[in-house]
């Protein structure tokens, strides 16, 4: 069989088509196999990590949700009993409502603040000042949520907190930030957003930097100014970044635990009890790992559903060019 050799340097970087000389095909297939092997080697640690620490626990949780297990005695098959209990348990239902409310408030506020600040810093400003602001906004994100919450618990204390002392200076009566059913959720949202918005902020800064200046210049020549320019150009071109920020934000918000756990312990009453708090309480305080797993599975399903809806909606609202 004849073979016309093609030097490596001139070999097109595509799969050999039918009719391609065999020698080239062999060499490319070897190279492809090598590349795939190398890729697999590089991916292996991550894949193993995901399988061991994510996939297996998900499967175990689903299985465990079908059993009664209190750690001490052997598991007993329960069928759908844990799910029935979950759907009739007012605490669980309230925790889902709280979590969804928290998600809406926290993500909306987080994106709004992050986007506003990113746009503000995108204007004319000395580089050192811009860097200072970026660092300051990102800093809370690298701190432990539990540590921040402990400090915030002191700050928002109704009687001895700095916050009430400050508003007292202008004659405002002390607010029961953490002990009123109406104020507690708002306080938890505030603390959470203060810590988290730095991530969205950085995403938006990166997204804004990727918008070609020429487009803005062209719009300016056409007479577009301020808000019109942002609504017509910046936001549509920033929509992929908005999608990422909102997806990550929603997934994180649906799993909120540390802030309400430390700040209010889910109270007063159930006002700030979230789904992950219920999972923790059922598993590690009440030794009901079956029901805890059932709640966990439902939360997993909720996160999947919300994320799927987001991606479906993104087809309509996200512009990649």
């Amino acid at each position: 069989m004849t073979n016309t050799q093609v030097p490596n340097s001139q070999a097109p970087a595509v799969r050999p088509r039918p009719g391609t000389p065999p020698a080239v095909a062999v060499r490319r297939s070897v190279r492809d196999r090598g590349t795939r092997l190398l890729a697999a080697l590089f991916l292996a640690p991550t894949v193993v990590g995901i399988v061991v620490f994510t996939v297996v626990p998900i499967i175990v949780s689903v299985v465990l949700s079908l059993f009664h297990w209190n750690v001490i005695d052997p598991p007993r098959f329960a069928g759908g009993a844990n799910y029935r209990t979950t759907f009739t348990d007012s605490t669980v239902l309230v925790s889902f409502r709280n979590t969804l409310l928290f998600m809406v408030l926290a993500v909306a506020l987080q994106l709004l603040i992050a986007l506003s600040l990113a746009l503000a810093l995108n204007g004319r400003m000395p580089v050192w000042l811009r860097s200072l602001f970026r660092s300051a906004f990102f800093f809370p994100l690298v701190l432990s949520a539990a540590s921040i919450s402990v400090v915030m618990k002191y700050l928002f204390n109704q009687d001895f907190g700095v916050v009430n002392w400050l508003i007292g200076l202008v004659g405002v009566a002390p607010v029961p930030w953490l002990t009123s059913e109406h104020a507690a959720m708002a306080t938890v949202v505030l603390v959470y957003v203060w810590q988290q918005f730095g991530f969205s902020f950085l995403l938006f800064v990166g997204g804004l930097n990727n918008i070609p200046k020429e487009i803005h210049e062209a719009a300016a020549l056409d007479g577009a100014t301020g808000l019109r320019k942002h609504l017509g150009i910046t936001l549509p071109l920033l929509s992929p970044t908005l999608l990422v920020a909102s997806v990550v934000g929603i997934i994180n918000a649906l799993q909120v635990f540390e802030q309400p756990y430390v700040l209010t312990d889910g109270g007063p009453g159930d006002a700030t009890r979230t789904v992950v708090m219920v999972i923790y309480e059922r598993a590690f305080e009440q030794l009901d790992f079956g029901e805890a797993s059932a709640v966990g599975v439902l939360l997993f399903a909720l996160i999947m559903a919300v994320t799927a809806v987001q991606f479906r909606l993104s087809r309509r609202f996200v512009h990649y060019q």
Partner: protein, 469 residues
């Protein structure tokens, strides 16, 4: 020309990859790395004792271990200090260890977990106590029977109490002086207490709270329930226990003793319970106390020592805490909890529980006896971070530096009010606590919320008590 061979360069490259991977695999396989087996004492036949990490400092643990080794050189000992926020967190971690197959032999358990451990995991100490009665006579003579009874379950003894804390009232003397208020009498009433709070409020300023308390099982609403002659759950005593009382206690101390407490039917809607909540709600309405926050009261030491709080319920553990916060002995004092219908106090106690999974039960018993010796307890409880269960350890010398002046109150609470008892902690304690905390928050979060909150609490408590653990 046919080219069916792999080029030399490619072969060399993949050979190098292969060699590199093999080298990495070889290195990993032969690496002298740490595993669980490298943890000192792990699987080496040591007697493993799990304690709440914050209970004893490393020096104390070291002294405990060395002392035990001198006495029993044939029993290797490992103290596993489990770091936890509070007792429920500690139990969760112990249960996780049990689930993982690394159960300790002994666990330091407080009242909150006595019945849970006794029912599901513990070994009754009865036959050892009977066998070594002569050796233990001195211990029981030094320990109040109420503490011992709180460690019994259905007629059997599961732990020897090492420490306890009753909910007495701490008063900031600087705040009292500022208000011109006198130190309350031992038999002060609830109305005296309210009047004192009003006096303190009058002179305290806007950022001052006369009465601060934390929403939790110990020291939260329960002391008021006890003072009003009621409880969250119907309380009775299990039969039995005479084998212990007849052996170790004189007739006067045996009176009314049983085989441990039983907490059964919830009674959150009982008139006296509602009365106690109404009283606390009235204090909130009058700004005499804050709405209760959850947590373990960790932020309380600071605000009490700086005079932002006037009075608060606490036990002997606070004497050490306030000293660490820089408070001088003369700046505060302690008095009994005020009288309402009764002056019954609540307490929580702790001791070592022996797990039935232990293969070294005889050795574990030797450790329990060693830990209960006076010299051992003296080493363990050097700082006033708790109230020792042995009466003889509470003396003027112990409190000379830290205070309070009325240190006798700590142990006299048990003597003066013989009906003083443990916080209600059935085997379903975790769920009961969650329900209590949740609805206490609701009941006091807004006006006129007490009745509806207690009705919902009753329903949830009934469900909790029906649940099998």
């Amino acid at each position: 020309m046919t080219d069916s061979h792999i080029p030399r360069r490619t072969l060399l490259r993949y050979g190098a990859y292969g060699a590199g991977a093999a080298a990495l695999a070889g290195t990993a396989a032969s690496w002298d790395r740490l595993t669980g087996a490298d943890i000192p004492g792990r699987d080496d036949g040591s007697l493993v004792v799990a304690t709440l990490g914050s209970a004893f400092d490393p020096a104390t643990v070291d002294a405990l271990t060395k002392g035990f080794h001198r006495l029993h050189p044939d029993i290797p000992l490992r103290v596993n200090a489990v770091q936890a926020v509070d007792w429920s967190d500690f139990f969760a971690k112990i249960l996780t260890q049990i689930a993982a197959g690394t159960a300790p032999d002994l666990v330091y358990v407080a009242t909150e977990g006595v019945q849970l451990f006794a029912q599901r995991l513990g070994v009754a100490l009865d036959h050892w106590v009977r066998r070594d009665a002569a050796e233990l006579r001195e211990y029981f003579a030094d320990v109040h029977p109420s503490l011992v009874e709180s460690m019994m379950y259905e007629g059997n003894l599961y732990q020897l109490p090492m420490e306890f804390n009753a909910a007495d009232i701490y008063l900031n003397k600087q705040v009292l002086k500022r208000a011109g208020a006198g130190f309350p009498a031992a038999d002060w009433s609830r109305d005296d207490f309210t009047a004192l709070l009003r006096e303190l409020k009058r002179t305290g300023g806007s950022h001052f709270t006369p009465y601060f308390w934390t929403n939790r099982l110990w020291g939260g609403v329960v002391p008021w329930l006890f003072a009003n002659g009621t409880n969250l759950l119907k309380e009775s005593k299990a039969p039995g226990g005479s084998w212990l009382w007849d052996t170790f206690y004189p007739a006067a101390d045996r009176q009314g003793r049983g085989g441990g407490f039983r907490w059964t039917t919830p009674q959150a809607t009982a008139d006296r319970v509602e009365e106690a909540y109404d009283y606390l709600a009235s204090l909130v309405q009058e700004d005499l106390c804050t709405r209760p926050e959850g947590g373990n009261g960790s932020n309380l030491v600071g605000v009490f020592s700086t005079g932002h709080v006037g009075v608060t319920p606490a036990g002997g553990f606070w004497a050490g805490g306030l000293q660490l916060a820089g408070m001088r002995a003369a700046d505060y004092d302690v008095q009994y909890f005020p009288r309402w219908r009764t002056q019954r106090h609540q307490f929580g106690a702790a001791g070592y529980a022996l797990l039935r999974t232990s293969k070294k039960q005889e050795a574990a018993w030797e450790f329990i006896k060693y830990a209960a010796r006076k010299d051992t307890m003296t080493r363990l409880f050097q700082g006033n971070q708790t109230t020792p269960a042995r009466r003889s350890m509470l003396n003027a010398a112990r409190y000379a530096e830290s205070g309070p002046a009325h240190w006798q109150v700590f142990y006299d609470t048990l003597d003066r009010f013989p009906d003083t008892g443990p916080i209600p902690a059935p085997p379903q304690v975790a769920e009961v606590t969650d329900v209590l905390l949740k609805y206490t928050g609701t009941a006091l979060a807004s006006p006129r919320a007490v009745g509806p909150a207690l009705r919902r609490m009753q329903g949830d408590l009934e469900q909790a008590m029906e649940r099998e653990i």
